[in-house]
């Protein structure tokens, strides 16, 4: 019978071959008629697991009532997704989680998602420990946690040690955690991707000459290939410039959003110089210091700002097809911002002046106004050795553009290139 054939096809996830043989034995017209009636339930467990692993655990468990075959399928779903939102009382959530952990079989957990919502902001430390411990014991690779804790006024939370000592953990996302154990004896040794949102740096343990130092120790900055930091209020009391990612030897993707330095505790220069960095995104940060982009292998730079307080400088030895994408959130044009915008553009032009080896540069602006202060348009002689062949210059059409200034800019760039056939592509 077809059903048995397919069930016995073993653990191959995509078993197109066995399907072909099963159908080959049928009449070709049967194929046409029954093609659409392939029943999902005939799929091997791993495919069903796959679908169930996208659901919250409490939903996936309900499949135990489908039929005898389905009674225990849920026990080996490689994903645990706990969300306290749907429980009226946190004590019920706790009971549920503990029940699941004790009734699950011993198979791997690939992904753990633990979202604790609720009016009560206190996280149950015991429960949290149990869940992390279980996941770490079962070879978890990805953990996503949102404790919805507050910066202050909450009982202390500790991130359980097994999370840091877990060898299999590759991807970690922590939102709204504010843990108290900044001085853990161990740090993660094999993280690939780290996403921290709204994570407070405790002043007692913080090293003010590098506000990122404790993060670096806890999560192992040197192994990361992707890092996302969102909504941090940093303090910096050092005298030098701050270069927190210099030792991130494997970092390829960096995204900083909604970051700021507290009051006057900001560096003069905030340098971003990860040696292998290829994608950099700076989104809605409130930096009042100069940002120096000094990552030699940068390919993509996205800058989305809401208050243009930053001034850029680029220190990139060579540019090969760098794409710069500068966006501004739609906001009414304010006089006080105009200066800052000039500075941003100035910073951009400084960068281009330094990178005469590039042959093609793509700039896209989507700003309210493209202005060009007089100071920004330096004499083009400095660029006599520029090899630019083309400049792909896109200007967003949904916003108001000062056309006359745009001509200044294009003329400037045209002067900068040696090539007769220098092309400016306007979008």
């Amino acid at each position: 019978m077809q059903k048995t054939n397919l069930l016995e096809s073993g653990s191959i996830m995509k078993r197109s071959k066995s399907k072909k043989t099963a159908l080959a034995s049928q009449n070709v017209y049967d194929c046409v008629a029954t093609g659409h009636e392939d029943r999902l339930g005939d799929m091997p467990d791993c495919i069903l697991h796959h679908i169930l692993s996208f659901m919250e655990t409490r939903h996936a468990i309900r499949t135990c009532g489908l039929s005898k075959r389905w009674r225990y399928i849920w026990t080996s779903i490689p994903c645990l997704y706990f969300n306290s939102k749907s429980f009226t009382r946190l004590v019920d959530f706790k009971k549920f989680v503990l029940w699941v952990l004790s009734h699950r079989d011993n198979s791997h957990v690939k992904v753990l998602i633990y979202y604790r919502f609720g009016v009560d902001y206190a996280t149950d430390q015991y429960l949290f420990n149990k869940v992390i411990e279980y996941a770490a014991l079962h070879g978890v690779q990805e953990i996503r946690i949102n404790l919805r804790a507050k910066t202050s006024g909450c009982p202390p939370i500790e991130i359980p040690l097994p999370l840091f000592t877990c060898q299999s953990l590759k991807r970690l996302e922590l939102k709204d955690c504010h843990p108290t154990n900044i001085s853990s004896p161990f740090g993660c040794k094999s993280l690939d991707t780290l996403h921290l949102e709204h994570f407070s740096m405790f002043p007692t343990a913080a090293d003010f000459s590098n506000p990122f130092a404790s993060l670096s120790e806890l999560f192992g900055f040197t192994t990361l290939t992707a890092l996302h930091l969102n909504n941090f209020a940093l303090c910096y009391t050092g005298m030098e410039c701050l270069d927190p990612f210099a030792k991130c030897f494997n970092l390829k993707i960096l995204q900083l959003s909604e970051m700021s330095f507290k009051s006057d505790l900001s560096p003069k220069d905030f340098v971003i110089s990860a040696p292998k960095l290829s994608n950099l995104s700076l989104i809605c940060n409130r930096f009042r210091c100069k940002i120096v982009v000094a990552s030699p292998k940068l390919l993509n730079f996205t800058y989305l700002y809401s208050t243009p307080c930053a001034f850029f400088e680029y220190s990139l030895p060579s540019l090969d097809g760098l794409i710069i994408d500068i966006h501004e959130l739609p906001e009414p044009l304010e006089k006080s911002h105009r200066n800052k915008r000039e500075e941003t553009l100035h910073g951009l032009i400084n960068m281009l002046r330094g990178h005469h080896k590039a042959e093609a540069v793509k700039l896209s602006f989507c700003t309210v106004a493209v202005t060009c202060g007089a100071a920004a348009l330096e004499k083009p002689e400095c660029l006599s050795y520029s090899k630019w062949k083309s400049l792909d210059f896109g200007v967003g059409s949904t916003y108001k553009i000062f056309i006359n200034k745009l001509d200044h800019i294009t003329a400037y760039f045209r002067n900068c290139s040696q090539h007769v056939d220098f092309e400016i592509v306007n979008i």
């Binding site: 999902l40 169930l52 009532g65 039929s67 075959r69 749907s86 429980f87």
Partner: protein, 160 residues
Amino acid sequence: MAQEASSSTSSKTISLKTGDGEIFEIEASAAKQMKTVQRLIDDLGDDITIPLHNVFSKELPKIIEYYKKDITGEITKDFEAEFVKDLNDDEVKVLFLAANYLDANKLFEFLSQNIADRLESKSVEYVRKYFGVENDFTPEEESKLREERAWSFRGIKEDE
């Protein structure tokens, strides 16, 4: 294994023939995303119409539409939401099974999530029908199971 003779493979199209005899064209780069198709191309050559016994003219165009967007890197959350917006649960199931047969990973992942979302809030009876599962519990077994589950699921807001 047949070698691809043409050096301009980026603009080459492959012909696919569905189980109900219709022929559709896709770009070679899109075909690469469907491992089953690519294996058939490797075995049979890229000049022959590739037969897909288990995929039909109703769903193949939709799959082609998805991969057309994929090769230009334009797949966004919005596109994916639009893509499934007007499909009913059974249509998604058919697409899912086809994506599995074609070994089209990206679409398979996306549809897995979509099916999970659709089934999350449905009753056990509905899910049974959807997966084509026969209820082989006796009424006693079923009520016992329900009791067990009720205890462990106490305090959950929604009813199933």
